[in-house]
């Protein structure tokens, strides 16, 4: 299972790429493999305020709807509109084209409270 070294991770299987004051967020390869066949993504609204660990988006597979949580506190500044036409990008490229939203973090140091790649690898066994 792919777990890139340069990202941060949550226990609820989101990944975070720190881009200065912003955090780009998606779901991990492990999460997409568990869900399989993502058929719909309910994106957050640009400008939405996100609490750390607060529900912010929904990813739906054929079988079920799964909540996506904001890894850190911040404001949504960008969402991946490409997922509206092609939600399967989450399956084919979870760490790249399948990103879901970008948060402007309230305090960028918050990412340090997340897991690193080694910690996440351990968590998913």
């Amino acid at each position: 299972m792919n777990v890139p070294d340069d990202l941060f991770y949550t226990e609820s299987h989101e990944w975070v790429r720190r881009e200065g004051e912003n955090a780009r967020v998606g779901i991990t390869d492990h999460a997409q493999a568990e869900l399989t066949d993502v058929v719909y993504v309910e994106l957050p609204k640009v400008g939405a305020q996100a609490e750390a660990r607060g529900q912010i988006a929904v990813v739906e597979s054929v079988k079920a709807a799964s909540d996506i949580y904001a890894p850190v506190k911040g404001t949504v500044v960008e969402v991946n509109k490409a997922l509206e036409g092609n939600p399967a990008l989450i399956n084919t490229d979870p760490f790249g084209e399948g990103w879901i939203f970008v948060l402007k973090m309230e305090s960028p140091d918050d990412v340090k409270q997340l897991k690193d790649a080694a910690g996440y690898r351990k968590a998913i066994g």
Binding site: E34, Y40, E42
Partner: protein, 369 residues
């Protein structure tokens, strides 16, 4: 679905095979069952285009024998047993006194005075207890579920697969018929039926032979692009055909007339449990009808219990819902007040507080082109 019990979940004789193949296992009633292997989409398309195999060992097998059995079953079940020659089967219902559905099942006449009832996993214990409670003299009823494993093998290439499996000279039973075959020391009971809308069979055999037969089917099916399939694809396939799922679309609070399944009820029979209620329902109509609907936008797929709205009022809730892999649209079923339960009626489905347009359509939602 029945509530989960605290007891350890029951495993079918193929549990280890599923785990070995990397299936995702989920609780299903009292059972732990594979929901998917390669993915619901892939498995669904395999059944529509080639062939797929499902473990249905969790389903129940009840065997009724004796000189009074046909007459007794005619009083227990809605369809007409007298129409069954030896080797024939029919879809039928077990009802309570209120006409509500205890279970939907297939009954086969396997000998002049012997019948096989294939019932839902979640219904097995309850059906058996109900039938035992109403047993008649001259009928012996046995629950053979624990000794029996089963596979549903579904898809347009099922005949090819069975010629490769059992020999090119064998003839599978005709639709809704049942036959037995000997294969390598195992007795196979094969019914030509299924829950997918494709050509297919359900095959039952002794539980101890299950891993061997499962692996042989997968090996023989490899050139045909066979896929092991889980409950996920089973649900999308059956819902495209609008085949009801007991516990979701069928329940003791609904009768077969409301569910639009009156075809499997013979009201000319003088007596069966629930008959009076069904006669009334047929004569006076029912307050609600089970309809099929299709989403009109590329929104989120509907799910069970989502609200159904018409003209600003909630008029019901979905009993089933999913994304249809064949139609690439959300589909579902719901009980709606009869005046609104007409094909073409525009409704809305409430999903996380937002309403999305849908249209009631004739069943089935998927028609093979």
């Amino acid at each position: 679905m029945t509530p989960m019990s605290d007891a350890a979940p029951k495993k079918t004789p193929l549990y280890d095979e599923h785990v070995r193949l990397g299936a995702k296992m989920i609780p299903f009633g009292d059972w732990i069952m594979p929901v998917q292997y390669s993915g619901i989409m892939d498995e669904h398309q395999a059944v529509r285009n080639n062939v797929g195999v499902f473990d249905i060992s969790h389903m129940g097998q009840l065997v009724a024998t004796g000189p009074a059995t046909a007459g007794w079953l005619n009083e227990m079940l809605t369809n007409n047993i007298d129409k069954l020659e030896v080797g024939a089967g029919q879809y039928t219902f077990l009802l309570n006194e209120r006409g509500g559905i205890i279970d939907d099942l297939i009954v086969y006449r396997t000998a002049p005075e012997e019948f096989l009832l294939v019932v839902n996993a979640s219904g097995t214990e309850g059906d058996f207890a109900w039938l035992k409670k109403h047993i008649a003299e001259g009928v012996d009823l046995q629950n053979r579920s624990a000794d029996c494993a089963g596979l549903a093998i579904q898809g347009p290439r099922v005949v090819e697969l069975f010629h490769s499996f059992l020999g090119s000279d064998i003839e599978l039973p005709e639709r809704n018929q049942i036959k037995t075959f000997d294969h390598d020391g195992s007795k196979l009971t094969i019914g030509r039926t299924g829950y997918t809308g494709e050509d297919g069979i359900e095959v039952f055999f002794p539980a101890e032979d299950a891993p061997k037969i499962w692996n042989e089917i997968l090996a023989k099916g490899e050139p045909l692009d066979i896929r092991p399939c889980g409950l996920g694809a089973r649900d999308t396939l059956r819902l495209e055909m609008c085949y009801p799922l007991n516990g979701s679309d069928l329940s003791p609070d609904h009768n077969p007339i409301e569910a639009g399944l009156g075809f499997f009820v013979d009201l000319k029979k003088p007596k069966f449990i629930g008959r009076e209620v069904l006669v009334q329902a047929k004569e006076n109509g029912t307050a609600n009808r089970l309809v099929a609907f299709r989403m009109q936008s590329k929104g989120p797929p509907p799910r069970p219990h989502y609200g159904v709205w018409l003209a600003g009022q909630q008029i019901g809730e979905a009993t089933s819902g999913t994304l249809s892999p064949s139609l690439n649209q959300g589909i579902g079923m719901a009980y709606l007040p009869t005046p609104h339960a007409r094909a073409g009626t525009e409704i809305e489905i409430e999903i996380r507080g937002q309403k999305f347009p849908a249209v009631i359509e004739k069943k089935p939602l998927y028609k093979k082109s």
